[in-house]
Subunit: 242 residues, 2 copies
DNA sequence: CGGGACGTTGACGCCCGTCAAGACATGTGG
DNA sequence: CCACATGTCTTGACGGGCGTCAACGTCCCG
């Protein structure tokens, strides 16, 4: 049962946060500080001392690494309920940058206090553990994508992921998918170029799979086609490996 | 300071294992069972219940995911000192397969016992935590590779990584790099094809960067050239990002 | 209204995946 | 020890996907 698990695990994480005992939740609220950011604002700079841990309340955040040649690889987008900055590498330094894609409200905890709290609260410890494990499986899913999928498959998968995110958030059926990020961001995420993103969406449009109205709003006309392009996330029943 | 950290962290992990208190180490040895495997032997099957945790004593192990279309993506190679099976996803089911690349000796622990032991030994807990964190940064490094590096850069990086592994293991300077895995394995790891691996090595040979004698033995003639091809792992001092 | 950021579309070329045919190596049985 | 089969590496030929450069269209904001 490979790949395609990233959404399940993330929402599972969110549910688990709510399952913490009341006292811990109260303490969490006490020591946290709300942060509001305009779109485009830097949140974390790679290499800075890892002073804070954040959770996203509203908006979308991009997490990225900068490359020597000036490019950047977006390693993930964060949505409400996701955590930012949990990955503690040895030096207690952020291993990545992060910035607000849209206007964002975050909740910030001083790392020290949060770590102390997690010593007492095993539930919180497990939460962080799960967060890292989630990030790992997500990263591995992306490795599969980048290594073996065509750009078209990646874009289709991305659209479906965005759609599922909004369906999960609103709980309702979706036909208009909001794409808050710029094409260049998506490109940096999927390991391709902004032009190719544009071209791919254009062919989807020409094939009547989507309808593009206002930028940042994509209407999906043919879900089945999108999923077909995805290339079959999961193996069929009784399929033979190798 | 992006990328290129994978080796440091791995060896740091090994050192930390030795830093466990004696009682824990004794218990660890008690409940472990040695396993010897011939090359090619399956160790873990994706989807099976995660019964054991292993550590590699000798040999090389490949960890992989199988794709619906029958291909496989090797997510990593494990060398002596590395752990296998620590990443337990929610269902306590292995999220990947593993097989012996060379003849291997492993040490196996029943998962339950090891988890119970880690409840008492915070050092062990931190060890596992670090193991997962390492895997995460390794996965993210690979994302950078796959997204933005040419095959030539990937192969050069791979060679250097192998060389560093052996230098680290023997402690001496190296000029002959042993490549125990098949080209197809390397290809599945780097997200390319066996033919392209062969071709790339051939051009390295023609450019007098390496010398190829017996298969599985590569003599590096020009380290500087290899590193140059790598594409500059780290940013230069004072370099400007974007 | 002018300028800047972003998206779209075209043209071009090359990297690399794929198919196919040999070249070696290794092992097995006669 | 040789003949043969099997697995692996090498090399060639071919073509398509997609990265890059460049020009243009569109939207927004001062």
């Amino acid at each position: 049962m490979p790949t395609g698990t990233e959404n399940m695990t993330r929402s599972a994480l969110r549910r688990r946060l709510e399952a913490l005992d009341d006292k811990t939740v109260a303490r969490l609220n006490e020591i946290s500080r709300p942060v509001d950011l305009p779109a485009g604002q830097q949140i974390i700079i790679e290499g800075d001392p890892a002073a804070s841990i954040y959770s996203v309340q509203q908006g979308v955040v991009s997490v990225f690494k900068l490359l020597p040649d000036g490019r950047r690889q977006i390693t993930g987008f964060l949505y409400p309920g996701d955590f930012l900055g949990v990955t503690f590498n040895l030096g207690a330094v952020y291993g990545y940058g992060a910035e607000a894609v849209t206007h964002c409200s975050l909740r910030a905890w001083p790392r020290g206090a949060l770590e102390r709290l997690s010593e007492e609260a095993p539930g919180l410890r497990r939460l962080f553990m799960a967060e890292i494990a989630d990030e790992l499986t997500e990263a591995q899913d992306r490795i599969l994508m980048l290594a073996h999928r065509s750009v078209e498959e990646r874009v289709a998968t991305f659209l479906l992921t965005m759609a599922r995110h909004q369906a999960g958030a609103t709980g309702t059926r979706i036909e208009v998918v909001e794409i808050p990020m710029r094409w260049a961001d998506i490109a940096d995420y999927l390991g391709t170029s902004a032009e190719t993103i544009s071209r791919t969406l254009s062919t989807f449009r020409d094939r009547h799979i989507i309808h593009t109205g206002k930028r940042s709003e994509i209407v999906v006309l043919d879900w089945a086609a999108l999923e077909a392009i995805t290339g079959g996330d999961r193996p069929e029943e009784g399929e033979i490996y190798r």
